[in-house]
Symmetry: C2
Subunit: 299 residues, 2 copies
């Protein structure tokens, strides 16, 4: 296990992604370096009110703590309470144009330490797409890049991580998936460090090829008040998921992370309307009937 190598990879990943997104927007991201008294810190890079990105946040953080919060060890209750370090890159892009989907990507590395026994480490990560006015071509492209990024690491990886993503990004109280999914993995520590690190790098380096072609294809499409209103309404679901269910958000808030950096994932402008339903047959209805349903997009 090589903690420093993971850290170098993650900081490089953040810089590479921020540089590409800033180039597209034609404006630099703001950059905040922060540290916290309990140990660790991070670099928050954020761009708001752009013409392409209404809000784009790309975070790197490396935190240490005396007690691993329950949200981090849901699958391994025996590790709760150990001292730990956690590092990762997490990004959410909220584009202005409602034809461009919101996207989320995260890769993370945990080490749980204990005095008497060996440290336990694991990787986690993934990416997923949340469209408003969706295109089947975009959903297929996104999933195929995910599939191809995982192919060198075993033929079973994509189907397993695709299913895991569908299960994870699900709003039980709405009986609705957050979007059209992607891939999600956690607790990855087999067969060995080198293989797990390589898989994680593979997923991360799939992000720009998965998302940028969709952004480029859709960012120039015309839209009006109706499309903006639907986008604001659907962004409410994003808020509901992140605050009610998301383990990363809860881990951040529970571990005393930097609140403004964690909640950068929330959309900039959101609306809730009571019991609103799309006109049957409308473009808005299509999102529900054709996209927010289980589907094998990579086929």
């Amino acid at each position: 296990m090589d903690v420093d190598a993971v850290k170098r990879f993650l900081t490089g990943l953040q810089e590479e992604i921020v540089a590409r997104l800033a180039g597209i927007e034609g404006r630099a991201f703001g950059r905040d370096e922060w540290s916290r008294p309990e140990g660790g810190g991070g670099v928050t890079q954020v761009l708001e009110d752009g013409s392409v990105f209404e809000r784009a946040g790309v975070n790197f953080s490396h935190v240490r703590g005396a007690n691993l919060p329950p949200s981090a060890s849901a699958g391994r209750p025996e590790l709760a309470g150990r001292s730990f370090q956690a590092m990762g890159v997490s990004l959410v892009l909220h584009p202005r144009n409602p034809h461009v989907p919101t996207v989320h990507m995260n890769v993370r590395f945990f080490v749980a330490e204990a005095a008497a026994t060996a440290a336990v480490w694991w990787f986690g990560g993934g990416m997923d797409l949340t469209p408003y006015y969706p295109f089947a071509e975009d959903a297929r492209h996104f999933h195929r890049v995910c599939r191809d990024a995982l192919a060198p690491h075993g033929a079973d990886r994509y189907p397993r991580y695709k299913r895991w993503c569908d299960e994870y990004f699900y709003l039980k109280h709405r009986a609705e998936p957050r979007g059209i999914g992607g891939v999600f993995f956690d607790d990855l520590n087999q067969p060995d460090f080198a293989a797990c690190f390589a898989l994680t790098r593979g997923v991360a380096s799939g992000f720009l090829p998965a998302y940028l072609p969709i952004l480029e294809r859709r960012r120039g499409l015309a839209y009006g008040e109706r499309e903006r209103a639907f986008q604001a309404y659907r962004r409410g679901r994003y808020v509901e998921f992140n605050l009610v269910y998301d383990r990363g958000t809860l881990f951040g808030l529970q571990s005393g992370g930097r609140t403004e950096a964690i909640l950068m994932s929330l959309p900039p402008r959101v609306e809730w309307r009571y019991d609103w339903k799309p006109e049957p047959g409308s473009a808005e209805a299509k999102l529900y009937t054709e996209f927010l349903v289980p589907k094998d997009w990579a086929d």
Copy 2:
């Protein structure tokens, strides 16, 4: 214990409050009666996009379930898993004018049943105020009505329930109270049913006298884009509290309540901005420095 008497009181309370608010808006509330397969149902009354109320929701619900969810029995783990019934009136008013505070009121009655032992019942409730551009006169008025409503039920009630409210409506991740508080109580079953029911009625009947004078004083004040933007930003805190911490919201979502009725508490239009801080000395800064701090408003 008289379940039917509580139900009659709660349905009457909903109708009385809705009638007053509809009169102020000059428009009727929408009314949805609903039931659910597991047992029980409710009446959701909602008004959106009014000139006074941007969103106003007044819910009555009476639900039954086979297993009391953990969120309902946080203070009494021994009751988790019992069959139960829960009824209550819950309201949140989001006025359009940023000089008028958002307000929340809730009264509820729980009965946890078990085959071998006697049923356990308790009341809970309270009300609290969340201003954007606050007035000390309004905070004092609201708290004094709360104090006076509780006075006949013991001199210690208001200070205890005021403190409980301050502790409950607190955003740990922001180190910030939700608003200027009010009163909150739960698990009330002493000394007997009649006394607890009378106290709960007292709090509920304090709601209109506590809030309407504030609404009347402030609804005509002029405001512009700046005030609306700050209101939208601060409403983000309301969303964060309700989705991350609020026991009532989590109970509703966990017990298979009607999602649209539960999430009617969320504001209609919300904005998040990264690391935003008010200008020192501004009207917006005054909210933080003079109102979102511990204070004995009733004195």
